[in-house]
């Protein structure tokens, strides 16, 4: 999907949601109380679920706090680009898609190193 410009928008969409769902999984499985509390208060705000998961990971893995902050800033950009390309038909360039690929790889590596998940 990343090599064909026709699919760049879809690639960004999938990239974001794969990261988002991984964080939801971590929150639901390992921070059950926080997940339940959020579910009661919100109808599914991505911002809150991401923020809560990032906050939990930062507090649990203090030595990895900087890496988790990198994940947070990159995921928020992926979310923004996803929304711009899905809803405003913004073109995703080849350079952009390469950056998306780098963010995905960094996300996978940091989450694996931090949580072993």
């Amino acid at each position: 999907m990343t090599e064909n410009a026709d699919f760049h928008t879809a690639a960004v969409h999938c990239a974001y949601y794969s990261c988002y769902q991984k964080l939801i999984f971590i929150l639901k499985e390992h921070y059950t109380d926080r997940y339940a509390a959020l579910n009661e208060r919100t109808s599914g705000s991505h911002n809150l679920f991401i923020g809560e998961c990032v906050g939990c990971l930062t507090r649990t893995f203090k030595k990895k706090a900087r890496d988790i902050t990198k994940v947070n800033r990159q995921l928020k950009q992926l979310k923004a680009i996803r929304q711009m390309s899905d809803y405003e038909d913004e073109k995703v360039s080849t350079d952009d898609i390469e950056k998306v690929r780098q963010y995905l790889e960094a996300f996978r590596r940091i989450i694996k190193e931090t949580t072993d998940l």
Partner: protein, 143 residues
């Protein structure tokens, strides 16, 4: 805490702790995200800035996130998101801070470093009506 108050804290914190950094700001309507761009890239990637940003994220989550559907994100030169026509730009203005004897010191092999004018812009600038409504021009807070 309001988003505006939070952003003012971000802005003050960057200027105080990273005096060499430039700051741009833009609110993206589509993603409902407040983007703050901090340059140069080496400051953005430094451990000190990552620690600072970790604190900002904790503050955002504790004081702001539950009151809004908007989001906050820090980016830099090499980031996926770039700010086209930012609504706010702050560029530190370097001055030659050494005294009349600076030249003599330099001749003797001492390295003379520049320091920055400590000028924290009034936040009236940051929150002015122009800042909110005019997105086609850059506003330099250092001016």
């Amino acid at each position: 805490m309001s988003i505006r108050t939070f952003l003012e804290k971000v802005y003050q914190g960057v200027i105080k702790n990273f005096p060499d950094a430039s700051i741009s700001y833009k609110y993206d309507e589509c993603s409902r995200t407040h983007f703050v761009k901090v340059t140069p890239q080496h400051i953005y990637e430094s451990d000190a800035f990552l620690d600072f940003e970790t604190g900002l994220n904790e503050l955002w989550l504790a004081e702001v996130a539950h009151t809004t559907e908007e989001d906050f994100c820090v980016v830099s030169t090499d980031s996926l998101v770039q700010l086209q026509q930012p609504q706010l730009v702050y560029i530190p203005e370097p001055i030659q801070a050494f005294s009349a004897s600076g030249d003599e010191l330099e001749q003797e092999g001492y390295k003379i470093s520049y320091s920055l004018i400590e000028r924290t812009p009034e936040f009236e600038d940051f929150t002015s009506p122009e800042f909110q409504t005019n997105t086609s021009e850059q506003y330099s807070l250092a001016a």
